[in-house]
């Protein structure tokens, strides 16, 4: 995608935010509903499938830029999930879903089983689960081989939400047949990594949204006869918030290879650092905003509640850090630097 097209798309998002992202819409979505009008407007504007226009035109950079921008505005829509599902299907050589939303899910510790063409098991806390037509995930067959599977949403849905009020629903399969599947080595890791890499991008976006709000507030709110942004202690908090935001953004960039694929290593680096930034950044943003930021009224919480949720989805920092640490220690100190420079 050329810079111009991307620019146009980002501006389209801004326009939709101005028109659609009302308080009513946000409050209505907070509890698991999908803001249909907003999502449809995004579909009409070509944002939901901007990553499929043409492979030459739509690089992973643009895909990330859009997801990041939507997260920056804390829009309660499954853009990241839809793009992640498409990436996974494409990599597995599977066709895209015909109708409705396709999202991604991760099975619980036992994993999903695909035996004799039948799916059993539960996908826990699937993002926007109740709204999906189809879901992409990994399953293991009787021989232990891993598959990327796309299946229609099962009948059994147990509804729940994350801290931001986005739907996170358990989907239980009891002998359903998949729509399609393909044997893929490391399929479970691929799904987890793809989800984590997208969450890192979203964290970077939500942090930058929070930073903008907090900066504006610091310039307007006066105490002791001057804007609080003139106090050095507040400036330093803002400097750290900006640094963490920049770090999250750089880390998220590591999450994807040039071809838009991810890997356990890339996702581990991206999600570990971005999650850390989410923690530090959300805390600072609230500290700078005082009581106002702690209200339902002020929109900061749309970003910060997402930050607190996203850092734990598709593996929290500790989980990825442990994996990464084991990998690094297994290879030994001398292998660390060459690994970093080969990314």
């Amino acid at each position: 995608m050329s810079d111009d097209i991307l620019d146009m798309m980002l501006r389209t998002v801004d326009r939709l935010v101005a028109g659609e992202a009302t308080r009513d819409m946000r409050e209505g979505a907070d509890g698991g509903a999908l803001p249909e009008r907003l999502w449809q407007a995004m579909e009409t504007a070509g944002i939901t499938d901007a990553d499929t226009i043409d492979d030459d035109m739509t690089g992973p950079t643009e895909m990330q830029a859009l997801v990041r921008h939507v997260a920056r505005h804390a829009l309660p829509v499954p853009l990241a999930e839809v793009m992640a599902a498409r990436r996974l299907l494409k990599a597995a050589g599977l066709a895209e879903a015909a109708e409705g939303l396709t999202g991604i899910g991760v099975g619980d510790a036992g994993g999903m089983s695909l035996d004799g063409g039948r799916l059993t098991g539960t996908l826990r806390r699937v993002p926007f689960g109740r709204h999906l037509s189809q879901v992409v995930f990994a399953a293991r067959d009787g021989n232990g081989a891993e598959h990327i599977v796309v299946a229609a949403r099962p009948a059994s849905v147990s509804a729940d939400v994350n801290l931001a009020g986005e739907a996170r629903d358990d989907l239980t399969f009891a002998g359903d047949a998949p729509v399609a599947s393909a044997a893929v080595e490391g399929a479970a890791d691929q799904v987890l990594a793809m989800g984590a890499a997208f969450r890192a991008v979203q964290i970077a976006g939500a942090l930058s949204g929070a930073l903008v709000q907090v900066l504006t507030y610091a310039g307007e709110r006066e105490q002791f006869g001057r804007p609080i942004g003139k106090f050095q202690a507040v400036q330093h908090m803002l400097a750290v918030l900006a640094a963490e935001t920049a770090a999250a953004s750089a880390a998220a960039g590591i999450g994807f290879a040039e071809d838009g694929s991810s890997s356990a290593l890339r996702a581990a680096l991206a999600k570990s650092r971005a999650g850390q930034a989410a923690t530090e950044g959300a805390a600072l943003a609230h500290q700078i905003m005082g009581a106002m930021g702690f209200t339902r009224e002020h929109p900061l919480h749309y970003q910060t509640r997402r930050l607190w949720s996203w850092r734990d989805e598709f593996g929290n920092e500790a989980m990825w850090q442990e994996r990464l640490g084991r990998e690094i220690a297994g290879r030994g100190g001398d292998a660390l630097w060459p690994m970093l420079t080969s990314l």
Partner: protein
């Protein structure tokens, strides 16, 4: 500006070729005993090692060949430096000259200064120190009081510099001095920079021992030291602009997050191939931070290569980077049951940890304190 963007920089093939070359050189240097990685860090002063780097063409790489350089790109140089640092190479002797002084001379120095000095720097036989700080002007550099008075054919410098690293073993200092009174309307006016050989008449270098008894920095007293006109760098009064430009180079490089990487490597090895969960989590956390810092730093290298001036971004990377390197000894203390020691020069882990603990406070002071950097970032955010 509300946000700082760090666009990724793809290293060109030539830079990757340099990477291979430097790695091969470092391996050879370790094998032949030229240095011991896990004992040294980049600030170790080792003239023999520097001379070898000079012979291999690893100093002044981006400068024109007529001055001894190799005409390479900034990204090639970046890769060379990060490989040296990651490899624990003792590049401290030529570091300042390569990183900033030579750069200043090339861009703002007289033809004589370029001809006489740059080739020696490239050869790894001429070392520089930075004469900015003074007893009463540390963070507030513009308050410098050392003054230079115009005389026949040059200037006479009188005053006192402090914390001058390597002044006792370098060949030259670049000295920031007042050539005109500071005006109320412009605090940054009236400062100029001079190249001063450390064996010039009227210079006295007095050691200042650091907290572990090491002798790295000094007090330097100037008593009417003569600097000829062509050893002024840049125009009279341009000192402030040059100093701040120089600091962008000093702040963004990999030397601002790799100072303790040798200890990190030791911790990884110390944890063994099957670390417990706590060790694994801590290692993973630090490695993710390191990967992110490297990405930000290479991004700045790309900006410098495109002649941009990412001063705020550099401040931001230094702030994050020095906090990272400062956290490594504490990580070692959490993971390894080990009493740090400082009474030996050997390469064992206890000595490496001991040395790192006592060196670490300087990371967030040298090159601009954390607080000053955060002030710069706040300025970049439009808050001041």
């Amino acid at each position: 500006m509300q946000e700082f963007t760090f666009a990724p920089t793809a290293m060109p093939p030539a830079a990757e070729a340099i990477r291979t070359e430097v790695r091969a050189f470092l391996k050879e240097a370790r094998d032949t005993g030229l240095y011991t990685p896990r004992r040294h860090s980049w600030s170790s002063f080792d003239p023999a090692f520097s001379a070898e780097c000079g012979r291999r063409g690893f100093i002044g790489m981006t400068w024109p060949e007529e001055y001894g350089g190799r005409g390479r790109s900034a990204l090639e140089r970046y890769v060379m430096t990060e490989e040296m640092l990651a490899g624990g190479a003792p590049v401290g002797a030529h570091w300042v000259a390569d990183r900033q002084s030579g750069h200043q001379i090339l861009h703002h120095g007289s033809e004589r200064a370029k001809r006489e000095i740059l080739p020696k720097i490239c050869a790894g036989t001429c070392f520089f120190g930075i004469g900015m700080s003074e007893p009463d002007s540390g963070s507030d550099l513009a308050a410098a009081r050392t003054r230079a008075v115009q005389v026949d054919g040059g200037w006479r410098i009188t005053g006192r510099k402090i914390w001058t690293s390597n002044a006792h073993r370098a060949h030259y200092l670049i000295v920031l001095a007042r050539t005109a009174a500071r005006s109320d309307s412009n605090r940054h006016a009236g400062l100029s920079q001079f190249i001063v050989p450390l064996d010039a008449e009227g210079i006295e270098v007095r050691p200042i021992y650091n907290l572990y008894g090491g002798h790295d920095f000094n007090e330097v007293v100037f008593d009417g030291v003569f600097a000829p006109d062509d050893m002024m760098i840049g125009e009279e009064g341009s000192g402030w602009t040059m100093v701040t430009g120089e600091l962008a180079f000093e702040r963004s490089g990999p030397d601002r997050f790799l100072s303790t990487v040798q200890l990190l490597l030791e911790i990884i090895d110390g944890a063994g191939p099957q670390p417990d969960r706590m060790a694994a989590v801590e290692i993973g956390r630090k490695v993710a931070e390191l990967a992110t810092l490297r990405r930000m730093s290479t991004s700045i290298a790309g900006m410098l290569d495109r002649d941009l001036r990412p001063a705020t971004e550099a401040a931001l990377v230094k702030d994050l980077g020095t906090a990272f390197e400062q956290s490594i000894p504490e990580m070692a203390r959490r993971l390894l049951a080990l009493e740090p020691r400082i009474d030996r020069e050997d390469a064992d882990l206890a000595a490496l940890l001991g040395h790192t603990i006592v060196a670490a406070p300087a990371f967030t002071i040298r090159g601009g304190t954390r607080e000053i950097l955060r002030g710069m970032i706040a300025r970049g955010l439009g808050l001041r």
